[in-house]
Homo-oligomer: 355 residues x 2
Amino acid sequence: MNWEKNVRRVEPYVAGEQPKAEDVIKLNTNECPYPPAPAVRRIAENLDCDKLRLYPDMNAEKLVNALAEYYHVSPAQVFVGVGSDDVLAMAFMTFFNGEQPILFPDITYSFYDVWAELLRIPYKRCPLDENFCIKKEDYLAPNGGIIIPNPNAPTGVLEDISMFEEIASANPDSVVIVDEAYVDFGGRSMIPLVDKYDNLMVVQTFSKSRAMAGMRIGFAIANEKMIGYLKDVKFSFNSYTMNMPAIEMGTAAVLDDAYFKEIVGKIIKTREWTKEQLGRLGFAFSDSQSNFLFVTHKSAPAKEIFLALKENNIYVRYWNKPRIDNYLRITIGTDEQMEKLVAFLEDYLKERKND
Amino acid sequence: MNWEKNVRRVEPYVAGEQPKAEDVIKLNTNECPYPPAPAVRRIAENLDCDKLRLYPDMNAEKLVNALAEYYHVSPAQVFVGVGSDDVLAMAFMTFFNGEQPILFPDITYSFYDVWAELLRIPYKRCPLDENFCIKKEDYLAPNGGIIIPNPNAPTGVLEDISMFEEIASANPDSVVIVDEAYVDFGGRSMIPLVDKYDNLMVVQTFSKSRAMAGMRIGFAIANEKMIGYLKDVKFSFNSYTMNMPAIEMGTAAVLDDAYFKEIVGKIIKTREWTKEQLGRLGFAFSDSQSNFLFVTHKSAPAKEIFLALKENNIYVRYWNKPRIDNYLRITIGTDEQMEKLVAFLEDYLKERKND
């Protein structure tokens, strides 16, 4: 087909498997094991469906205002999108247009290089050290922008905020994005610092700690000027991204802070229990402050464990990639799910030893 | 701020006003005056909100399958997005990467040049003739792609399918997109021809004839290969664009064909009545086959009418742009709304004459 010569050819991002069977223990895409806040359901039940005939509020004011109030910033400092992936894609398009490569860790969210390839942005992966920690010096070289998750994924390693402050300070010519998808599970957000560093943007999501992956809501917080540029690009791409139910149900989720804190607390408790158990079984891992553990076993290869788990309807995430091909990323589920996981692993490792 | 030098600066698309007052007669953004199908409300009421904790089906299979069945194509020929704007933005990014300019009419959907500017795609506007009709010859010149709405907006002019067939045939090197946002109101869709022309893509939306602007659903139909390329780009931008309620409620809308036909029939009837009335009042307009009329008055300037209407809480759309600055685009509302519009205009024009 002749028209193919003008096609943008890309290697798309590969998301974790979404098994359709109902009886699966799904610990492979870092979803929340608990349902969204009860208020979210009430909004759905009473949704004014007649209003769906109208365009939604293109500024998603209700949701933006709720987030602004929650995070003590002005509404003009908040940008919302269809998941943090939408927010990040827009941010790459808006801010990463320099000649110099953008910088991100070699082991990190695997969408960053996909966006860079799609948008033809030069990029450089900076190797984490042997403990999967950021090497700050790498981010002091000339660059066209910086993006780092904190805690990082899939490693779960949380870095101190002071390191990001140093990086932001040292790079006044670059936008520095801190991807805080997992920050609610034990990290400290940099949102209070967006007024101090005019080149700092913080991105978060409703998909993990707010239990709304199915609703597709993410947001960015930065200074008004930066958010203004991001909006200009967004309104040049798709004016009405947030549908009416997302605006209404997302707002309800933000307003129920007690429920949010309750489920996050439960996940943290389960995570700490899981760490103890997996440690006992011979797994090593960094001290994850997210809703997942990134583990390697002293004797059993990760790929074998991954396949054995899958055969038993327990899904975790495995990447056949350099440096991490002997690791598994395990999402923290409910206590019951983690007990089943640990029981299975205990048996599996015992049998394996006896073989 | 130093980082500003790498910012993509753009002039965003300006959507029609969305007045917040409740008592407004809103005829300015081509929304449907009727609510979505009753089945859509039932889905909302019974939404399994617990499932919102999980990522939605990234392939939106349920919705894709419903559309494939409805339009007699295979599911692999269907692409869905967050409104047809999302679908079109992705299509621009995927297919319009040549050296030659892409072509579209000078009077048309005002997002086309915004996408071209955003994505730095060279483009050329081809002037419509004095009756706002496409001049076919313009689209036989070398180009990097073609996009034309049918019926065109904001003119409402419907072109014969044979013209698009000629354009597609004559441009095997280019992807030809026919934007059928308004086709359900009296046009003939080119969907049955996507297997005949391997460079043809048809785009439609749920925002007009399916009364779901607030839900943000659009779709493209083409051959499998073209849809495959579009998906590769989409999955390099945002894997999970369609949220769970959009998939579920959109599917319900497609399945209720009787309701769809009923509301479209009502809008067409109201449109024809409105044509008669406006003709009687001295307005001229092309024979619109969409859910709006694009009108000019023999003596009263469009801008004055626009402001007078607005002052009386009747919103229509006016553009202060070359060639169309003496026109108004009036969405077809309910019978009652159009009666009020006509009554107001009748009085207004009478008074104006007497002044």
